[in-house]
Point group: C2
Chain length 132, copies 2
């Protein structure tokens, strides 16, 4: 039940972007330096957050990355969901057909409870609340 480093680094990346939101595009190099994470690894992680629409980027000198919307509009649960490919604690929560017992499975009910408890709590927090 551990988050991957992709998720942990990705979250720190988002917080870093929020902290520099007013300064315009920030290069991966500077984020990597501040966060102590390799540039190449961050490049891969940022792709996930771009796909989810949280970040927009510009190439070339003076280019970089910036949040696609103000930090107040970004829910932490949705950020995590983008990084983790959903927060479901079991595949059967989202895809019941992957298990032939899913229809009347008491365990599955539990996975739904656990998943939504975490998701709701995380979504009650905005990225803006993560800085200070």
């Amino acid at each position: 039940m551990k988050l991957t480093t992709k998720s942990r680094y990705g979250t720190r990346l988002m917080i870093d972007l929020a902290e520099h939101y007013s300064e315009g595009p920030v290069s991966i190099g500077s984020i990597a330096e501040r966060q102590g994470i390799s540039v190449k690894y961050l490049e891969q992680i940022i792709v996930l957050l771009k796909k989810a629409g949280f970040i927009k980027s510009t190439r070339g000198p003076k280019g970089g990355h910036i949040l696609a919307m103000p930090p107040e509009e970004i829910k932490m649960g949705e950020v995590l969901a983008a990084l983790e490919d959903g927060l479901d604690v079991s595949g059967c929560v989202h895809d019941p057909e992957t298990c032939d017992r899913a229809e009347d499975c008491k365990a599955r009910d539990l996975w739904e409870v656990a998943t939504s408890a975490m998701y709701n709590e995380l979504n009650s927090l905005k990225l803006s609340e993560m800085i200070q």
Copy 2:
């Protein structure tokens, strides 16, 4: 963020034991048959639940496994914690010293929130509530 099959199978195992609590010790063979899980794999999983004190066993013919206490006294969060070796979504929640940034890490605060949201919700459910 997916639970391992150990946790999912282990939970189903506990529910199965609860359903047969009044019948005395149940053999792994019969659980395996009902749940469609191999005997050998269940044997490994049950060890974790025995260590945590949820199950007691007797050897020999007519032997088997039974809950060490009534299903009403068993919290699902603690069952999962035993199977998953803690429910922390990141190692730094329980062991801050494993990350030198933990002391003032905004991400870590988030992992604490997510972990306790899930743990508290799961602990509000007793094993007895999982059957019917």
